[in-house]
Symmetry: C2
Subunit: 141 residues, 2 copies
DNA sequence: TTGGGTGCAAACTATTTGCATTCGA
DNA sequence: TCGAATGCAAATAGTTTGCACCCAA
């Protein structure tokens, strides 16, 4: 396991990640990367915007959306679609599933091993499976 | 199996369903119910709006959203959250999963038997599981 | 009759887009 | 330098809300 598989990442690691993915490492993208890749987490675009501009006003809303889109396209983060009102961006790159608290909107990771799918349907072979998402929706009593 | 478990449903069946759920069967709700419960399908709010007003302008957009919310709360339909841009309402009440074509936005049912989950994580017992969603995201070659 | 249901328009929120400006390589 | 990236503001889309009116029971 090399340093790029670990959290948290230094600024230099973020720059490497971006370069490795063919993404030009600009100030804004690096800043956003530092926020996202500091630990495994789920953030909405709005949360990223706030976190990134904590100290100074550095990144615009449009750029946050843009950048999240670029990162997702390159597989650096994944979109988690569980809440009808917004998309979460997940910096946990390992295979895993989600536990969603529908009352509070919280999202938690479930390790890949904690869920086992023993059977999937046969699909026409012109179909590529991108992902098999398992979402357990729960609420507190 | 009684008639209410089957598709398509007559106007009278829709009225019964609504009454059984404690929902006042108004003109608009019945109309929306007739559209939704005519067969197993996935419709967005927009599609319901169009279908309902096919012949005459009968139901407003706000009422469609309202009514879909009421139906979902009472378990007559379920919300399917797979597309970041909109919610689908599913009139298929039997347990099942979904196949989502991320390129076209199409949504297909997978029968419950076609997917088998052999292991779920242990959850604190103050948590109620509402649902376990499996979504297979695919795209064509 | 009368309180819940509806229609409408306006408000809101998340996200996208167009275009002039700026900046990384 | 120079094309790619950014910022901004305005546009868009889906959804929600407030309120006066209406109708099912």
């Amino acid at each position: 396991m090399n340093s790029l598989d670990q959290f948290p990442k230094s600024r230099a690691d973020v720059v490497s990640m971006l370069r490795d993915s063919g993404i030009t490492p600009t100030h804004q993208r690096i800043k956003i990367g530092e926020v996202l890749f500091s630990c495994k987490q789920h953030l909405s675009a709005e949360q990223v915007l706030v976190a990134v501009n904590q100290e100074d006003e550095e990144v615009s809303k449009a750029t946050v959306y843009n950048t999240l889109g670029v990162f997702a396209q390159h597989g650096l983060i994944s979109e988690v679609i569980v809440d009808p009102s917004k998309v979460f961006y997940d910096s946990n790159l390992s295979k895993h599933h989600h536990l969603y608290y529908s009352d509070t909107g919280e999202l938690e990771d479930l390790t890949d091993e904690s869920v086992e799918i023993s059977k999937l349907p046969e699909l026409p072979n012109d179909l590529q499976i991108e992902d098999v998402d398992v979402i357990i929706r729960v609420h507190r009593n």
